[in-house]
Subunit: 213 residues, 2 copies
DNA sequence: CGGGTAAGTTACCACGAGTAGGTTACTGCG
DNA sequence: CGCAGTAACCTACTCGTGGTAACTTACCCG
């Protein structure tokens, strides 16, 4: 089998196995076996288990970037642009939930480089978002633009992960909440301040500080 | 040495080693050695490497909860309350950056359960935030409150991680951006829509889709 | 002193990442 | 045709590290 073809096949199988088992529990032996190939071939093509993961992330990153930027391209109204981008983002997460759940949800494993790879993906997203914000709020200083961009990205990620465990929120609804919050914050919803229950007091489920041990 | 004392010592050493090496690269042998104890003792006390990590996370979680809830307790004004909570959060991250960087930044490792543990920590935070939002915006439907809460948590995390690589943003500034964004979104900053550069066109660093291979 | 228990140890196993070195098979060339 | 070179590929191994079984010491209590 030709190199390019094998490489593609290996990547597909790897993505699948990683999604099924999680990165750590996935074994190179299994991936190799499912490819109908022996382990050293994987190392020939990807160098290491981390390398294989990185390649999978890079591929996903490219797909995500393509999906979101395509959705935003050619839209004139910035409000609409953000909406389209957000919607594309959440729909992409729906379509690839299995693999992205692994990336965003299961924390900590990583090859140190994995974090960097995800960080790169975020930089791509911030490259899409920041210009829109800057264009919308010309008076906003650059650091604020950057900070808001990060906040938006974090909000998107969190909402995406949260949605994995709660099927009651469609991609469109998530995108709507996100855009709404981005534009208005809480401002549009403010009523007269009601009393806020004091934190730190034991609640019905018991104090969370205690339940740790 | 008494059990409680040993346990505490082991936890301290483990946190340190995890922070130094990262979870994956940290070996149980090294942790044991640095404790001046043999490996099976670690297993006696924590069951597994994951268990040890979980214990460390639980401890950090409790500390974080305590710090933020203490900062918010006894404050009457909700606006002020959010500000205090955010500030406490970012200051906590400053103080514990090494360990929390590992938790939030390095993605993927995990024991499947680690993700759950972090999720629990987020639930604690959402337990602090959601009531404030609900109190502030009495008309806001519950699902929206939940969604906004997640967005805020995600924004905080992202900003915290981002700050790790960019020392130019103080905890107070981060907290200010976060509260400002939470209250106003972009609304307060909107100018007349300027033209937004179209996404998807190659930029100076080259197309990110290409740079993957 | 003797028994029970809790802290602690050595010496091991299993499993999975990564590698050395050899084998097949196809291509191009005299 | 026969031979060299090369590229895909495999068997069989090493080694680090998580995890465990079985034994040893030391203390407390009657």
């Amino acid at each position: 089998m030709a190199r390019a073809e094998r490489e593609r096949q290996m990547l597909d199988v790897a993505k699948q196995v990683f999604a099924e088992r999680g990165y750590r529990a996935a074994s190179m032996d299994e991936i190799a076996e499912r490819c109908g190939v022996s382990k050293p071939m994987l190392y020939e093509y990807f160098g290491s288990k981390d390398g294989l993961l990185m390649a999978a992330i890079d591929a996903a990153k490219a797909e995500l970037y393509e999906a979101t930027s395509a959705a935003m391209a050619g839209v004139a109204d910035p409000h609409e642009m953000v909406w389209r981008g957000m919607l594309a983002y959440f729909e992409f997460m729906d379509a690839h939930s299995r693999s992205f759940a692994m990336l965003l949800q299961e924390p900590l494993l990583g090859p140190a480089t994995t974090g960097d790879a995800l960080e790169q993906a975020r930089r791509q997203q911030s490259g899409l978002i920041a210009p829109v914000i800057a264009a919308l709020a010309p008076g906003l200083p650059a650091p604020a633009v950057e900070a808001y961009t990060e906040i938006i990205i974090g909000g998107c990620e969190r909402l995406a992960v949260w949605r994995l465990g709660d099927p009651g929120l469609s991609a469109a609804e998530a995108a709507r909440y996100m855009t709404d919050f981005t534009w208005n914050g809480l401002k549009d919803h403010l009523g007269q301040p009601a009393p806020v229950p004091a934190p730190g007091v034991p609640r019905s489920e018991g104090s969370p500080v205690e339940e740790a041990g």
